[in-house]
């Protein structure tokens, strides 16, 4: 029974990691930008919820979606569009700049101490079935992730802009030669990453009951690790990587000796290094296409 219980924990944590990793992977696949400011999208979502404390739940959630999506579009327009032709290292550094900028804006506005938020705390209660106690929040995280992933998969297969985005991810110049509008596919990618980030915000705030200007940092690091494990550029890989990191984290939490548990993340990253030595290109990699 304890194994099944752990598995549910692993899947729900993995689901959230997968959402964060998809946000990173989506932007990377189209722009070759590893957007470390993705963590600050998650963080700002948290502060939107904090600022609307006392409002109906739905209002908080929708406000977080809207603000985070606009912020994602804004960072593309202001910070990344002028650097469109820049090299991946330049883009990476720019994303650090955006990340620190947003952290410190929030630091100035709200201070450095974590602040408590009462958001969906009722979901901390567990439902019991078949002898298992599963927190509602975990169930909702799993269901929401599955719905989002199916929605994304459908969007990329069936919608015109989705197909154009896959083409742009594989060979951006060729896609443009066929008339795919560069500005539009990149903007849609950032909007989607904003939507994904806001879901992670909702989960984190509900889970921890607090917000802080650093709350996105750890999540984005794990999301990055997950997308590397899956294979940079592969969205299926990013999702898979997220679930794997969730599984490893929960397993370590459950089976490490008690006194080592506080250092769980050190073991996660140690395993990550070992993984990279074994398979540096990630689990699911497509052959990098030659650019025109």
């Amino acid at each position: 029974m304890i194994v099944v219980q752990n598995l549910i924990d692993a899947i729900s944590l993995g689901a959230v990691y997968a959402l964060a990793a998809l946000g990173i992977g989506l932007i990377f696949s189209i722009m070759r930008l590893i957007n470390f400011a993705h963590g600050e999208l998650i963080m700002v979502g948290g502060f939107v919820i904090y600022s609307l404390a006392g409002q109906p739940m739905l209002v908080m959630a929708i406000a977080a979606f809207i603000v985070v999506t606009i912020l994602a579009l804004g960072m593309e327009r202001i910070a990344f569009r002028p650097l469109r032709r820049a090299s991946p290292p330049t883009l990476l550094i720019a994303s650090f700049a955006v990340s620190y900028f947003l952290q410190h804006v929030v630091l100035i506005l709200f201070g450095s101490r974590p602040m408590g938020v009462d958001f969906l705390s009722s979901l901390g209660e567990s439902v019991e079935f078949a002898g298992l106690r599963v927190p509602l929040l975990q169930l909702i995280a799993i269901v929401a992730t599955v719905v989002l992933m199916v929605g994304l998969a459908f969007f990329f297969r069936a919608s015109r802009i989705g197909v154009q985005m896959r083409a742009a991810a594989e060979d951006f110049t060729m896609a443009r030669l066929l008339g795919v509008k560069a500005d539009r596919v990149i903007a849609v990618a950032f909007a989607l990453s904003g939507i994904l980030a806001s879901f992670v915000s909702l989960y984190l705030v509900a889970q921890t009951g607090s917000v802080s200007y650093k709350m996105g940092v750890n999540m984005v690091l794990i999301a990055f690790v997950a997308s590397v494990i899956g294979g940079m550029g592969s969205l299926t890989g990013a999702a898979l990587g997220g679930f794997l990191v969730g599984l490893v984290s929960v397993s370590l939490q459950a089976y490490l000796p008690e006194e080592l548990r506080p250092y769980r993340d050190a073991f996660v990253f140690l395993l990550f290094i070992a993984f990279l030595l074994w398979r540096p290109q990630g689990l699911l990699v497509r052959q990098a296409s030659e650019r025109v």
Binding site: R166, A167, E170, D171, M174, R176, K181, A182
Partner: protein, 258 residues
């Protein structure tokens, strides 16, 4: 249809095109031939908006287009089939073809054009739902051309369409191009393979070292004694003429590119 004047392109300190003049009339098939590194691909990539020009002017349908983004040029009726085909290998043949119609919204006409392309290249119909990456080189070339045609271009730019293809496939590709000319398509084709290009084109420009060395009707160029020298750039570098002449003689005798 297309007027290129004094076009200059450089990559850093390396000059790739040094003042190229080319004119293409409506309904013409014009070839640009020249050895590897002559600047042919650069020329097409510049016309399509991928490479930035340093100087000169290009008018397409009477409108200056130099500096326009690739997607804007695609929407204005210019289609490039780049060297190496650049099909989307992880996507299906159907999706590749559909992407050709990115700039269009007339569903019924797109469906009719898709049908026409599949009739032109029946092998694409057989493999319609398969991954494009699993196609053979020749099939990929057909897909790349079919995809470009779905944009209903006014001007088709082809970069080395025969490179690495079996002669039968090359013939099929050029037959398709001839058929499309009847419908008013204009083609600018770049080739290393002299015989194929001169057989296919109405007129040809010989390019060497980033400049036009010679121009004429294909039939005239084929018999012109100065052609080999122009192709190998000997006209620009006296002294190397003898070696180049020998190589060209061999090449012409074997009917292959050197």
């Amino acid at each position: 249809m297309l007027a290129i004047e004094r076009l200059q392109v450089s990559y850093g300190s390396i000059t790739a095109l040094r003042g190229v003049d080319i004119a293409v009339g409506k309904g013409e098939i014009v070839a640009v031939i020249g050895p590897n590194g002559a600047g042919k691909s650069t020329l097409l990539l510049t016309l399509a908006g991928v490479v930035k020009a340093k100087g000169g002017a290009v008018r397409f349908d009477g409108r200056p287009i130099l500096g326009d983004a690739p997607e804007k040029l695609a929407a204005s009726g210019l289609a490039l089939v780049p060297e190496g085909r650049h099909i989307f290998s992880s996507m299906s043949v159907a999706e590749n073809i559909a992407l050709g119609a990115t700039t269009r919204n007339d569903r019924a006409a797109i469906a009719a054009d898709t049908e026409r392309v599949l009739a032109m290249f029946p092998v694409l119909r057989d493999r319609y739902r398969q991954r494009a990456g699993n196609l053979s080189g020749g099939e990929q070339q057909m897909l790349a051309i079919g995809r470009a045609l779905l944009a209903r271009p006014k001007l088709l730019l082809l970069d080395e369409p025969s490179l690495g293809l079996a002669p039968l496939v090359v013939k099929q590709v050029y037959d398709a191009i001839y058929a499309l000319r009847q419908q008013g398509l204009t083609v600018l084709v770049v080739e290393q393979s002299v015989n194929r290009a001169l057989n296919a084109a109405d007129r040809a420009y010989v390019m060497s070292g980033g400049a036009i060395a010679m121009v004429g009707r294909s039939a005239e160029l084929m018999g012109n004694p100065d052609f080999d020298a122009a192709y190998f750039g000997a006209a620009k570098a006296p002294g190397s003429g003898q070696v180049a002449g020998q190589m060209a003689g061999q090449a012409a005798g074997q009917g292959t590119r050197p």
